[in-house]
């Protein structure tokens, strides 16, 4: 009975204290709020302490969220990847086509630039021509060009590129001409070794090299010597590049050296040519021209 009365008294006391506690707490919060609003707005030491304490927690949580975020982004990317791939493939195709065209244009530009340089430096009257057909026979080496008598191209005229001599006009019609290449087995021209000024006859082999003949064994010819046109016959202007000596053979028999010359012109990529306009001269292939 006594215990019950004591409990009742304690209950009444704590119940009386509760409103006071609540009021105090509200007042405290209100005070804190007012201090915040009208205070100096500075980040106090308590806040700093709290920030330091909770910062690692935030950091850990944010790092934990990173893989989830990237997974979400990857998933969203996957939704558009097919369209993107097709678009990029199309773009790549366009770029490749453009690059291919550009490479062609650059190569053409380089070739034409060389032709122009030769035209300007030589001071000779020339006609620019393009190859329209090539001789398919394994025995002859000739090409058809898109210039003829109406353009001033005539039989016997020398044909060159920026790199060196190519051949001479073998036959011409009103609008087209046939050029006998210097690599043709029936071609023979007067040449000089540029340094020693030794004369020889350059003959075509039908392949990608020339054969320099009638150079005496007593003469020193070295690999790498430059060969130029002699200009004796008047067919080719003197000093035009012909090729470079690539091999010299001294046979025990015979009077002459066997010399192989690599052409200055790359015949496999021949496209644009220059025909040097000069006075008509009777054109005779090889032996008819008086060569031995």
């Amino acid at each position: 009975m006594q215990r019950n009365n004591r409990n009742k008294k304690q209950k009444d006391g704590s119940e009386g204290f509760r409103p006071v506690l609540l009021g105090g707490a509200v007042l405290t919060l209100l005070l804190i709020f007012l201090v915040f609003i009208f205070g100096s707005q500075e980040f106090g030491p308590v806040y700093k302490l709290v920030l330091d304490a909770t910062g690692p927690l935030q950091k850990g949580a944010s790092q934990f969220a990173v893989p989830f975020r990237s997974m979400r982004e990857k998933y969203l990317d996957l939704l558009t990847v097919r369209e993107e791939k097709e678009r990029l493939l199309q773009e790549l195709q366009k770029c490749r086509t453009a690059a291919y065209a550009n490479r062609g244009a650059v190569a053409l530009n380089a070739r034409l630039r060389k032709l122009l340089e030769f035209k300007e430096s030589s001071g000779l009257p020339t006609v620019t021509a393009r190859i329209v057909g090539k001789d398919p026979s394994p025995w002859f080496r000739s090409v058809i060009i898109d210039r003829g008598l109406s353009d001033g191209v005539d039989k016997g005229m020398p044909v060159v590129t920026g790199e060196g001599i190519v051949g001479q006009v073998y036959a011409a019609s009103a609008n087209y001409a046939k050029v006998l290449l210097t690599i043709s087995p029936s071609s023979a021209i007067d040449v000089l070794l540029q340094d020693s000024r030794v004369r020889g006859i350059l003959k075509g082999t039908g392949g990608s090299t020339y054969r320099l003949e009638y150079v005496l064994k007593t003469i020193e010819v070295a690999k790498g010597d430059h060969v130029v046109t002699a200009g004796y016959g008047g067919m080719f202007p003197p000093g035009l590049p012909v090729g470079i000596v690539s091999e010299v053979t001294r046979n025990r028999r015979g009077m002459f050296l066997e010399i192989e010359v690599v052409p200055a012109v790359d015949f496999s990529t021949l496209e644009n040519l220059l025909v040097i306009e000069q006075k008509k001269k009777e054109f005779r292939p090889q032996s008819e021209a008086g060569y031995p």
Partner: protein, 183 residues
């Protein structure tokens, strides 16, 4: 009409051979398409029609190629005569069996031409070399079958009859020629 069309086809072949199949002046593997036409004409056409077709085609080849005037007409004429003789004497007259003959005749005529030129025109510097010529004969053989089919198709269309059958190799029944008449 058919003769004129085949002349045009021959000119087209000559143009294709000297442009499309010749990327550079030193390109070694250009097929001699004109010779396939020579072979077809020899195998399928009459004497008179063959001459009418081959004369302009060989003249154009002479213009496009070489420095010896008359070489291609001579090659075409000799090849045509040889093939005509071979097809007359051959017991089987099917295109598939005629293809090796085309290559063999090409090789033989080329060799004879180079031999004669070497004797008669030594300054031309024509040298015979077996590997490239064998390769070229192989190319002629290779291009013969599709071109023969194309020519057959064209000829049949011009005559108003065509049935596109598959490759006629070893068929059933008697494969030997029953008559000796020229086609």
């Amino acid at each position: 009409m058919a003769t004129l069309v085949f002349i045009l086809v021959g000119l087209l072949l000559a143009a294709v051979q000297t442009t499309v199949f010749m990327p550079g002046p030193l390109w070694p593997v250009a097929p001699d398409l004109y010779y396939v036409l020579v072979a077809y004409v020899a195998c399928q056409f009459s004497l008179c029609r063959g001459i009418i077709i081959l004369l302009p085609v060989s003249c154009v080849m002479d213009v496009y190629s070489g420095t010896l005037v008359g070489l291609y007409p001579a090659i075409c004429c000799c090849g045509w005569l040889l093939l005509k003789f071979m097809t007359i004497k051959m017991p089987v007259r099917k295109p598939l069996y005629q293809l090796p003959l085309v290559a063999v005749s090409y090789l033989l005529i080329s060799w004879l031409s180079s031999l004669l030129l070497d004797i008669l025109q030594p300054e031309a510097g024509i040298l015979w070399s077996w590997p490239p010529m064998l390769f070229r004969a192989g190319l002629v053989c290779l291009f013969s079958y599709p071109l023969f089919r194309c020519f057959d198709f064209l000829d049949s269309r011009l005559r108003g009859k065509f049935s596109f059958a598959g490759p006629k190799g070893a068929g059933t029944g008697n494969q030997f020629r029953q008559d000796n008449k020229l086609q």
